[in-house]
C-alpha cells in the first residue's frame, strides 16, 4: 500500500477544483493509496479500515451462500473511507482518463460523507486513528486475558446491529419543534381516537379545521388551533403532559448491557466494557453508510457523470467513458443495482424540481399528458438535490420519490421467482409494474435489523428481559440461541427474549391460500440451555 504518484495527485487536485466549482464541499486534504489484490484480501473483511481491531472471524470470514436468506448485509465497503482526511484506494494501472472519472466519483462520496446528516456523528473524529487506538487496546487486553477477549468481541458483535443508531442522531432538531409535532400527533392519533373514541367524521372535521387555519396563518396555526381545543376539552393539556412523561425512553440493548450488567460492573470484568464500547462504536460508525447505500452511490454516479462529461479532459475518451459508465449505472434486467437506482432517482428528482413538480398542485393532477406537460420552470433542480444529499437516507428517498412516473420512465418492474413444476425450473417473471409494489420490494430489501429493547419492568440483576417489536417478520430462529448464550455471559444471569413467531396455517388444499398465524413465544437462556415457551 503506497501513495499515488505526483502526476496522479495533480489530476486529483484539478478534479477537486472542478468539483468545488460545481458546488460540492469537502475538506482540502485527501489521501489516495494504491492497493493490490493481496491488500484487498486483508482489508475487505475489515471494511477497508486498515487499523480495525483483529478478530478471528475476519480470518475465517462468513461464507454464506449469496442471498440465501438475505441475512447478511455486510457493511458496504467503499473505495473511500470516511476518515479525516478521507482515504481512497486505487489500483496502479489505471489510465489517466479513468482516474479522472473515479476521482469525481470519489469526491462526490467524500462530499456525501461530510454533508449528509446521517453521518453527523462521524464528523468530529478520524475513525482510522480511533480504530488504531482501539486495536492496540484490544491487543493489550488479549495478551492479558487471552481468548476471553475474543468471546467478549463475539458476544458484543452478536448485538452490534441493535445499537439505537437513530436515537443518537436528532440532536439538531429543536426540542420545541419536536414536542409541538407530537402534540398534534397526540391530539389526532391518541386523544381523539383512543381516549375519546370519537367518530371518524369528527376527526376529519378537526383535520379540516386545522388545515384551514394553516392556510391563512402558517405560523400561528397551532396555537390558534389548540386554543379552541382547550375550551372544548379542558382536560387535553393534562392528558398530554401525562402522555409525554409516561412515554418510556427507548433502550438500546447494547448500551444498556454495557452500562447496567451486574457482571460487567465487577471490578475484574471492567475491561469488558471497553471492548463492548469499541465494538459498539465501530458499528455506529458504519451505521450511516449502510443506510445510505443507494443515496451515496447514486450521488457519486450522478456527479462523476455530470463532472466528467463537462470536463475537457474527456476528449478522445468519450467512448471509453460511456462503456465504463454503462457498466456501473445500467439498470439490470433482473436484479437491483444501487448505482443505477440511485442515479435515476436523483436525476428524476432534479427534473421534478426543475419543472416545479414537487408541490401539492402537481400531485393532484391525474391526467398523464397534463402531468407530462406540467412545467413551472422553477429551475430548482440542483438546489433540491443538494437538499436531498444533506437530509435523506435510502428509506426516505425510496419512500418519498418512487412513484409511477419514475417506474414508467425507466421501465421498472418487480421480478418474481416461481416454480414451474412441469419443466422443473424456477421462472423469473414480471410480477408487477405498479409503483406501490416496486417501492415495497425496494423497501423490503433495505437493511433493517429487528427492533429489540430491554423491558425494564421485568429485568432484574439475575434476569435480562428483552422484547422484540414485531414488524411482520420473525427473527431468524437458528441464530437465537447463539445470540442469547452470549448475552447470558455478558449479563451474568439468565436472558429472556419475547418475540413473535409466524406459523403458516396448515394448507389443506393445493390452492395457495397463504394463511399465517402469529404466536408470541418466550425464549429463556439459562445456564447455557435454551427453552421456548408459548405466551
Amino acid at each position: 500500500m503506497y501513495l499515488i504518484d505526483q502526476h496522479t495527485k495533480k489530476i486529483m487536485e484539478e478534479c477537486k477544483e472542478y468539483a468545488r466549482a460545481a458546488g460540492l464541499t469537502f475538506n482540502d486534504e485527501t489521501l489516495e493509496y494504491i492497493v493490490t489484490n493481496r491488500d484487498m484480501i486483508s482489508l475487505s473483511p475489515k471494511n477497508m479500515i486498515p487499523t480495525l481491531y483483529d478478530y478471528w472471524v475476519h480470518d475465517v470470514e462468513v461464507l454464506k451462500e449469496q442471498g440465501k436468506y438475505k441475512l447478511y448485509p455486510h457493511n458496504p465497503y467503499e473505495t473511500v473511507i470516511n476518515a479525516r482526511p478521507a482515504i481512497s484506494f486505487y489500483n496502479d494501472n489505471n489510465p489517466d482518463w479513468l482516474n479522472i472519472m473515479i476521482f469525481y466519483h470519489v469526491l462526490a462520496h467524500i462530499d456525501f460523507f461530510q454533508n449528509n446528516i446521517l453521518f453527523e456523528n462521524t464528523w468530529n473524529d478520524d475513525f482510522v486513528g480511533l480504530a488504531l487506538a482501539d486495536k492496540r487496546l484490544i491487543e493489550n487486553l488479549r495478551s492479558e486475558k487471552g481468548r476471553w477477549v475474543d468471546y467478549v468481541i463475539e458476544f458484543s458483535r452478536s448485538i452490534d446491529n441493535i445499537t439505537g443508531y437513530f436515537r443518537t442522531l436528532p440532536k439538531h432538531l429543536s426540542k420545541e419543534k419536536s414536542t409541538s409535532l407530537s402534540k398534534l400527533h397526540f391530539y389526532f392519533d391518541i386523544f381523539l381516537q383512543e381516549i375519546l373514541k370519537v367518530s371518524p367524521r369528527l376527526i376529519f372535521k378537526e383535520i379540516e379545521r386545522y388545515n384551514s387555519i394553516g392556510h391563512t396563518n402558517q405560523e400561528l396555526a397551532e396555537s390558534v388551533f389548540f386554543s379552541e381545543v382547550k375550551t372544548k376539552y379542558p382536560e387535553f393539556n393534562a392528558k398530554f403532559e401525562n402522555y409525554v412523561s409516561e412515554e418510556p425512553a427507548p433502550i438500546d440493548i447494547m448500551d444498556f448491557i454495557c452500562k447496567h450488567s451486574p457482571f460487567l460492573k465487577k471490578q475484574e470484568n471492567r475491561w469488558m466494557q471497553s471492548v463492548m464500547t469499541i465494538v459498539r462504536n465501530t458499528s455506529m460508525y458504519f451505521s450511516p453508510q449502510i443506510r445510505t447505500k443507494i443515496m451515496n452511490e447514486g450521488w457519486a454516479s450522478y456527479w462523476h457523470d455530470e463532472l466528467f462529461r463537462n470536463d475537457k479532459r474527456i476528449k478522445g475518451h468519450e467512448v471509453d467513458y460511456a462503456r465504463v459508465n454503462a457498466g456501473v449505472t445500467s439498470i439490470s434486467r433482473v436484479g437491483l443495482n444501487p448505482y443505477a437506482i440511485g442515479l435515476r432517482l436523483i436525476q428524476h428528482i432534479e427534473e421534478l424540481a426543475d419543472k416545479g413538480k414537487i408541490n401539492v398542485d402537481f400531485q393532484k393532477i391525474n391526467e398523464i399528458s397534463q402531468r407530462d406537460k406540467y412545467n413551472k420552470k422553477t429551475k430548482k433542480g440542483k438546489e433540491t438535490i443538494f437538499e436531498l444529499r444533506k437530509n435523506f437516507s435510502d428509506f426516505m428517498l425510496i419512500n418519498t420519490f418512487v412513484d409511477q412516473d419514475f417506474i414508467d420512465k425507466n421501465d421498472l418492474f418487480v421480478v418474481g421467482k416461481r416454480v414451474n413444476v412441469e419443466k422443473g425450473v424456477y421462472e423469473y417473471y414480471i410480477k408487477s409494474k405498479k409503483a406501490e409494489d416496486y417501492k415495497n420490494m425496494l423497501l423490503d430489501s433495505l437493511y433493517h435489523p429487528p427492533y429489540i429493547k430491554v423491558d425494564l419492568n421485568k429485568t432484574t440483576d439475575k434476569n435480562l428481559y428483552l422484547t422484540h417489536q414485531f414488524e411482520g417478520k420473525q427473527i431468524y430462529k437458528p441464530y437465537i440461541p447463539d445470540v442469547l448464550i452470549g448475552l447470558e455471559f455478558l449479563w451474568g444471569g439468565s436472558v429472556q427474549l419475547e418475540t413473535t413467531e409466524i406459523i403458516s396455517a396448515e394448507k389443506e388444499t393445493d390452492n395457495e391460500s397463504e394463511g399465517y398465524t402469529f404466536r408470541k413465544v418466550l425464549y429463556t437462556m439459562k445456564d447455557r440451555k435454551i427453552e421456548k415457551t408459548n405466551l
Binding site: I41, V60, L71, R147, I159, V334, V415, V425, D444, G472
Partner: protein, 457 residues
Amino acid sequence: MPENIYKLYKKLKNRGLSPDRLQIIERELEYYNRKNARNRLAEIEMEAISGLYDANDFELFIGIIKNNNFAVSIQTLDDLLERDKKREEDGFPRKIRIGKFIKPDKYKKEQIVVVPTTTEPKFYHDNATTQKEDETGGSGEGEEGEVLGEQQIEPTEGEGEGTGAGQGEGAEHDISSDAFDLGKMLTEKFELPNLKTKGKKVSLTKFQYDLTDKNRGFGQLLDKKETIKKIIETNILLGNIDENNEFNAEDLIVNPKDEIYRIMSKEKDFEAQCVVFFIRDYSGSMQGKPTEVVVTQHLLIYSWLMYQYQNNVQVRFVLHDTEAKEVRDFYTYYKSAVAGGTSVYAAYEFVADIIEKEQLAKENNIYIFHGTDGDDWEENGERSIAAIKKMIPDLSRMGITVAKNAWTSIDKTTTVENYMNESGLLKDKAELIKMDTFSAEEATESRIINGIKKLIS
C-alpha cells in the same frame, strides 16, 4: 444411456410387479424423461442475481474483483481449530463448521472450495417465512406475467441444492488439496476411529528410523567418503587444487562445515496398499437430498482418507444407475448428473470385475463405500448378493449408506435393506459389511459423520 432402460422396464413389468414397486420404477422413469425433455429445451440460464448490497466501487471501477476466496487468507487453520476446541471447554458451542462447498465467484465458472466456515449469529429478520416468492427488481420491456428467464431447480450437471455440488462446466479444479484440509479438520474434530486398526494389514505407512539423512558439521556418524568429496570441492574453489598437478593432502584446508555426518531420520515405508471404491447410485430417485447426503458423506470419507494416508490411498469412483461406469476423479464423481433407473448389482458386479481383473486383492486392502436411497429394480437382489459374496474374501470393509428419500417412510425398509437383511450377510460377516440407514431429509452434518463412524467402526 440408450433406450435399454425401457427394455428393462418392460421386462420387469412382464415378469409382474407389485404396485409399490411399479410406482417406484415409474417415478424414476418419469425423472428420466423429464430430464431428457429438459435437455432438449433451449434455456436462458439466469445469471446470479445481485441485490442492493452486492455491488461496490471496487468491482465496478477499480477493477479489483472482491476476492471471496478466503481460503487463502487462512494461514493458521491449526490455531482456529485449537480455538474451536477451547470453546467447548469454556462451555460455548463450537463455531467452525466444515464440509460446506461454496461457489466463490459468480462471474467465473463454478468452483468447489472446501473451507472452514463460520457464521456470526445476530438477530436478523427472516424473510423466508413471510415471502411467498423471492422478489427483486428488473427493467426493460415486457408485460406483467412475462417470463424473463429460467433457472433449473435440479441442475443438470451437478446436484444437491446449495450446499451440494456446483453446476456448470467442469472447470479444472484440484479438489485434493482442499480435501486434505477438510480431512485434517475431520480427524481432529470428530476423532474418527482409524481405519488402519481395523484393516487386515495393520498399517499403511510405517516409519523406520535409519541413519539416512546427511548433515553438515555435526551428527552421529561421519560419512568419510562424502566428507572427502566436500573437502576437495572446497579446495578447488579456494584454488588449492590444480587439476593438472599433484597436491599434498596436508595443504588442504578443512572447513568444519565440510564434515558430512549421517543422522537419524524417519523414513516412510509403504507396507500395505489400500484401494477404496466409492460407489454412488445416481438414478432418478436420488434427486435432491439423497444425492446431497451421499455426496457429502463420500467427500468427508475421501477427505479423511486423503489426510490420514497422505495421498497413499488409491481411490476409484463408480457411478451407477441401471449400468455402472467408472469416472476418473472425485470431481466428476461428485458432479455427475442424475440419470435413469436403478440396478445395484450392475455396480457390484462391475467392481467385482475390476478387483478380479486387476488382481487388486493380492496387494491391497479393499474398501467399498456405497451410497444409495435403497431403491433397486431388482427386487430380490439375487445378483447383488451374488456379487457381494464373490467379493467378500477380498474385502476389508464394505459400507453401505441408505439415505432414504422423501417419499419412503423411515420405518419402511427399502429393497436394498430387505435383501441385505435376508441374505444374512450383515450378521454373518458383520466385521466386513456394515449398513447404515437414515432419512436423507433429516440428515444433518453430524448424522452424516456418525454414519461414517458406523461404517468404519
